[in-house]
Subunit: 153 residues, 2 copies
């Protein structure tokens, strides 16, 4: 890449204020903690809205549910990279067991991803709560199962 372009890219990075923290391209554990908490927050936002649709007595909003399920399926794929080694220290509820039992943790994370993907698939053609509720429940259980073992509170 020519020098002008390189300087220009550096300029864009340093100017985008909220992005500057990450522009170092390192994988500092603080960044990783913030990142994974953000991913979980986005999952929770979408998951919670699906739950609200299921609990509601209003007409089933299939389109909205499918959108939330698709978002959740995508975002669950992004979580794992935030669990970098050493990031059990700091402002986090992640238990150190995540890293000492990594294969099990990875398996649980994969179960979440697979179940969320299946939920998104089922939701595409759903016309009633009954069509999605069982898979929603399964997906929720994968959250619960992982949190129970690997989350401090």
């Amino acid at each position: 890449m020519n020098k002008l372009l390189r300087v220009s890219v550096a300029g864009i990075l340093s100017c985008c204020i909220s992005m500057a923290v990450h522009a170092r391209g390192d994988s500092s554990t603080e960044d990783a903690i913030e990142y994974r908490q953000a991913v979980m927050e986005v999952i929770a936002w979408n998951f919670g809205r699906m739950g609200a649709i299921l609990k509601s007595k209003a007409l089933f909003d299939a389109e909205e549910f499918a959108k939330r399920a698709a978002h959740t399926a995508f975002i669950t794929q992004l979580a794992r990279e935030g669990f970098v080694p050493g990031s059990d220290k700091g402002e986090t509820d992640a238990k150190p067991q995540i890293w000492t039992e990594w294969d099990d943790f990875k398996e649980k994370m994969t179960a979440l991803q697979e179940n969320a993907a299946k939920l998104a698939e089922v939701a595409k053609t759903a016309t009633a709560r009954e069509n999605v509720a069982p898979q929603f429940k399964k997906t929720g259980k994968t959250c619960k199962g992982c949190h129970k073992k690997y989350k401090k509170k």
Copy 2:
């Protein structure tokens, strides 16, 4: 939905601790602020890593860049819904002008989404930094343009 399933869904929601906050299905402004900040964090994580690839003198990692670009393109679509009316109050850097100049804000957000989508598209077949750097820069400018006008710091 039968009662058993409804109760079961409610159980899943109340058990998934980090999701419980959102399970009310309301759109409280605090939730919205946390959500949009989380979305921005995930964008920043991915955008920053693309920047690091562009600034690096190592061999261009086309696959990694394309992955980051795809993540960014998806996540930028999720930001807008976090800017609910009334959420200029609270722990936020969002300026009230977002809501008084909503059409302009929406236009800027759309520009980000469109540029991020184009970047993801370009990145799919990129083999060198030169292929993606100009569109990366354009995308970065859409962040900067919006932050300059609508972000407190």
